[in-house]
């Protein structure tokens, strides 16, 4: 699919994307489709290099009207820019066993891979350096941030190879990041964050002190947010293999409270660490997540 071609919005649904075999294709489809629909969005123009003028159209943000031209010609033109590399994005992708869960066609890991690929593609398109760390309870893949040609392809392949592993240790990727990556940049962490919020805070905080802008994408399946059990079931932990008899009443009441409290605690921990936290239901289209990212980037940029 050529870059810049228009893609209908429903094609950005995760389940539709799951039908695309190539992760590069997925990333292009998402980003191009997203950018095509951004004519009326506030995010275009976060680069400072002038690109072109275009006649003002209804719906364009008036802030981008070149008033000097208007004064001279009495016509309204929109001033457009092209992006330039001014930052660095490192994606931390959780590939633990729990990320393999998915009640539908798309698992959390697959969604995470789509998101990671999309972020990487978007960053590369804007000439940002892109790095990647895939982890579970150890580092499985590590691509240092770079803008060299073919770097995106390497990152996308690394993302593509990610498979559900074993347990999760959130300290590992942050420590690796802290050891290797120096200088200011963006850090996108994609995980389900089944961890202690305080422990996560301790891991994220050093990055914030380092001047990194951190955004946490917490991917959760609808069944994890609002589980529905018709009868009591023997629940098996995908990471530890332990089982537990759980009643449907508990899952429909107390569990929801506890997962809600956990999300809230994560959110607060992220805030305290100076990071952004975005809860992602893996059934929601990727463009809305991408929009969150761009808002975050704009805010931090």
């Amino acid at each position: 699919m050529p870059a810049g071609s228009a893609i209908p919005q429903h094609l950005l649904e995760p389940e539709t994307l799951a039908g695309l075999a190539n992760l590069d294709l997925v990333a292009r489809a998402v980003v191009n489709g997203f950018l095509t629909g951004m004519h009326r969005s506030p995010f275009f123009g976060f680069s400072q290099e002038f690109a072109e003028y275009r006649a003002y159209a209804e719906g364009d943000d008036p802030r981008f009207v070149d008033w000097n031209v208007f004064a001279r010609t009495d016509r309204t033109y929109i001033k457009r820019y092209i992006g330039e590399t001014n930052t660095r994005l490192v994606i931390l992708l959780d590939a633990s066993a729990s990320m393999g869960y998915g009640s539908g066609k798309v698992s959390k890991l697959l969604y995470g891979k789509f998101l990671a690929a999309t972020l990487a593609y978007l960053a590369a398109r804007q000439h940002d350096a892109v790095g990647l760390i895939v982890f579970d309870d150890k580092i499985r893949e590590h691509r240092r941030a770079s803008t060299r040609g073919g770097r995106l392809s390497g990152v996308l392949h690394a993302i593509d190879r990610a498979q559900p592993g074993t347990g999760t240790d959130m300290r590992i990727p942050f420590e690796r990041f802290h050891e290797v990556e120096h200088g200011r940049g963006l850090v996108a962490v994609i995980s389900d964050f089944y961890c202690d919020p305080d422990a996560l805070l301790k891991s994220v905080q050093p990055l914030a002190y380092q001047g990194q802008d951190v955004i946490l994408f917490q991917l959760l399946d609808p069944q994890e947010l609002k589980p529905v059990l018709k009868e009591s079931a023997l629940i098996e932990d995908m990471e530890s293999g332990q089982t537990m008899e759980v009643s449907p009443i508990y899952m429909s009441s107390k569990y929801r409270d506890r997962i809600g409290e956990h999300i809230e605690a994560l959110h607060k921990s992220a805030m305290r660490a100076g990071a952004d936290h975005r809860l992602v239901n893996i059934t929601e289209p990727l463009d809305s997540v991408l929009r969150s990212y761009l808002l975050f980037r704009q805010r931090r940029g």
């Binding site: 729990s98 990320m99 869960y101 959390k108 389900d192 089944y194 399946d221 994890e224 009868e231 009591s232 079931a233 023997l234 629940i235 098996e236 932990d237 995908m238 990471e239 530890s240 332990q242 089982t243 537990m244 008899e245 759980v246 009643s247 009443i249 508990y250 899952m251 107390k254 569990y255 506890r258 997962i259 956990h262």
Partner: protein, 664 residues
């Protein structure tokens, strides 16, 4: 293989229980993967019926245990051929059962029995063993089973017949234990005179419970003739002695019956006894010596069975006893008839005294019993005195009469009286209806129904009353009631001729004799016990006593641990203690006198109940095939069952350890 109790196979249904239990699982089949148990809490484990059974090995063991248990109850057995069951050389155990009953004393039957037993011993082959058993009242095993013929012959020579009766059904039941424990196939050599009276009521009782060949050695030699005294007794009224002579011979014969008292001949009569018939002989009342008298009758000439030619009776002369007759009119007919009847009972030695009142001297306790001729004559004090006397152990005969007509409640006993609507007119008379002839007071009293009754009082019968005699219209005539420690006989008519003509009927004196005998305690004045029964010192009223058997030996000494003595001899047993002595006569069982043998057909059928001679090496059951024998698999199954239970316990424990997380 066959099952002797196949109904127990229903127990196999119990297998369904472990099958169901092993499907019951606490593991929820609805298993789902989930990201994390971080926010989950365990709920109540649910027991569900799984589609597949669990712990197959354990289930198989449990089903095996139940199946074996059910199978063990069905008594499985395999049928094996004689060669398989028996020993190789065909050795057998000969159980030589000698009929030791009284009839074997006849003539030379016992010698014939020994000869027959010796013949069996002569015929023993190779490793054959033999065991001698003497069967009479008791089943006496004379030594162990052995191949030592000399020892067996010695045992045989010491065996003697007894005086008891042998019942063949009992014999076959008793011998079952010996057959069951025998290590060799059993041949039952029954040496007997095959008395017909020894056969059981049910022919099936002659079958051995265990397989055994039955060989009957009949020791009778032609027709046996016998005469016996089959009964001997004394009248409680007159003291007259009567004996019955019975013939078990085809031809009539003349026999002399000799009566002896304390060893002295006091009478002798000659009687003609018809063939297979009976002749009665009687002797006048004896002049009894003080205490117990040994009275016996004997037949002469004797016959080949001497034991039944003599019969014994112990007669005790009673001490004079006083009887009080309470009558308002001492010269009235009631006391007259009553005292006259009582005075004629010489065997009871009664001395009646007629008084108008029970109060006065001598006191009531001096009298053996009291007769009230018309209870209506008593005032309250007199009635209370008699009641107290009875409640303290006294006995009374209470009659009604004209003075009782207006009573509604009977003095002494307090029984309610009702007017008799059918009587009282003095015109219609009623005879005696039902009579309880089994009651001691009425036993042997005949011709009562000749009496006519025109009036009686109608006593409301209660549960405490036994009606011994009633009129034809159902009105109770003679009632028996316990009162305190004593007893009251209530005669609801009069003892004079006002209301009936009983006092002038011949039955009146025997009736009064029976009543007097009953009121005196029912002990009678003769004493006899059955052969084979036990004699209890306490039952005779002795606190401690010695018992001497007919041969004069002490059967029970003073201070012996037991109070009972088995009466195993014929003659007089003497009980001595407390300064007095009692005699108990023990007589030959009359059934042993009848020497008629079992007919040949019955004997053959009896033999047929055992194993056929050709198959004698192999014990078989009577009720099944005669060519194979069952061998129970029960012990094998029980062993297997125990092994399975142990293995099941180990496997079950292993599963439990796994479930508890214990390292195996």
């Amino acid at each position: 293989m066959s099952l002797l109790a196949p109904a127990f196979l229903l127990g196999l249904l119990a297998i369904g229980l472990p099958w169901w239990l092993h499907r019951l699982s606490s593991t929820n089949p609805n298993k789902q993967k989930f990201s994390s148990l971080m926010f989950l809490e365990p709920g109540e484990p649910r027991r569900v019926l799984a589609k597949q059974v669990q712990y197959l090995l354990l289930l198989a063991l449990r089903i095996g245990v139940l199946a074996l248990l059910a199978l063990a109850f069905t008594e499985p057995a395999i049928w094996r051929t004689p060669q398989a069951a028996g020993d190789a050389d065909g050795a057998r155990l000969h159980l030589i059962v000698l009929d030791g009953s009284a009839s074997m004393n006849y003539g030379d039957r016992w010698d014939s029995a020994r000869a027959a037993a010796n013949d069996v011993l002569d015929d023993l082959r190779g490793e054959d063993r033999a065991q001698i058993v003497l069967a009479g009242r008791q089943f006496e095993v004379l030594g162990p089973a052995t191949t030592d013929v000399a020892a067996l012959r010695q045992t045989l020579n010491t065996a003697e017949p007894g005086v008891f009766r042998l019942e063949y059904g009992q014999l076959m039941r008793s011998i079952d234990g010996l057959i069951r424990t025998a290590e060799l196939p059993v041949v039952l050599d029954l040496v007997t005179d095959a008395q017909a009276t020894g056969l059981p009521t049910r022919f099936g009782e002659l079958a051995p419970r265990r397989p055994a060949e039955i060989v009957i050695h009949d020791v009778t030699d032609g027709a046996a003739e016998n005469w016996t005294v089959d009964s001997f007794g004394a009248s409680a009224v007159t003291g007259e002695l009567s004996a019955s002579v019975r013939s078990f011979a085809p031809d009539a014969a003349t026999r002399t019956v000799t009566l002896t008292q304390n060893g002295r001949t006091v009478g002798e009569q000659t009687v003609d006894v018809p063939g297979h018939g009976r002749a009665d002989v009687s002797f006048p009342a004896l002049q009894l010596a003080s205490g117990s008298n040994r009275v016996e009758v004997a037949l002469s000439p004797g016959d080949d069975l001497t034991g039944d030619d003599r019969r014994y009776l112990a007669i005790k002369r009673p001490e004079p006893r006083k009887v009080l007759i309470v009558a308002a009119d001492a010269d009235g007919r009631g006391p007259l008839f009553t005292s006259a009847a009582l005075e004629t009972l010489t065997t009871l030695a009664l001395t009646p005294t007629v008084r108008a009142s029970p109060l006065g001297d001598p006191p009531l306790l001096d009298y053996s019993f009291v007769v009230v001729t018309d209870v209506g004559q008593l005032d309250n004090a007199q009635a209370a005195a008699i009641k107290e006397y009875v409640e303290n152990g006294g006995r009374a005969l209470v009659a009604t009469g004209p003075r009782s007509s207006s009573l509604t409640t009977l003095p002494i006993t307090g029984q309610t009286l009702r007017t008799n609507p059918q009587m009282g007119s003095g015109q219609a008379s009623v005879a005696i209806g039902e009579v309880d002839a089994t009651h001691p007071a009425l036993r042997g009293v005949d011709e009562l129904r000749a009496a006519n009754f025109v009036r009686s009082v109608n006593v409301e019968k209660t549960e405490a009353d036994s009606v011994l005699m009633s009129l034809a219209d159902g009105t109770p005539l003679l009632l028996d009631r316990a009162l305190g420690n004593g007893r009251v006989l209530l005669f609801t008519s009069s003892l004079d001729r006002e209301w009936n003509d009983l006092p002038v009927q011949p039955a009146f004196v025997p009736l009064m004799a029976g009543i007097a005998n009953y009121l005196l305690g029912g002990a009678g004045f003769t004493s006899e016990a059955a052969l084979g029964s036990t004699l209890s010192v306490r039952a005779l009223g002795f606190a401690g006593a010695q018992i001497f058997d007919p041969s004069g030996d002490a059967a029970l000494g003073l201070g012996a641990g037991s109070d009972d003595v088995l009466l195993d001899q014929v003659g007089f047993y003497e009980v001595v203690g407390g300064g007095t002595s009692e005699l108990v006569a023990v007589n030959f069982d009359p059934r042993e006198s009848d020497l008629a043998p079992v007919d040949a057909t019955t004997l053959e059928r009896w033999k047929g109940l055992g194993v056929r001679p050709g198959e004698s090496a192999t014990p078989v059951t009577v009720t099944s095939s005669t060519d194979r024998v069952p061998t129970s698999l029960g012990p094998l199954l029980v062993m297997l069952l125990l092994m399975l239970v142990v293995v099941e316990s180990l496997v079950g424990n292993w599963h439990l350890r796994i479930r508890r997380g214990v390292a195996a």
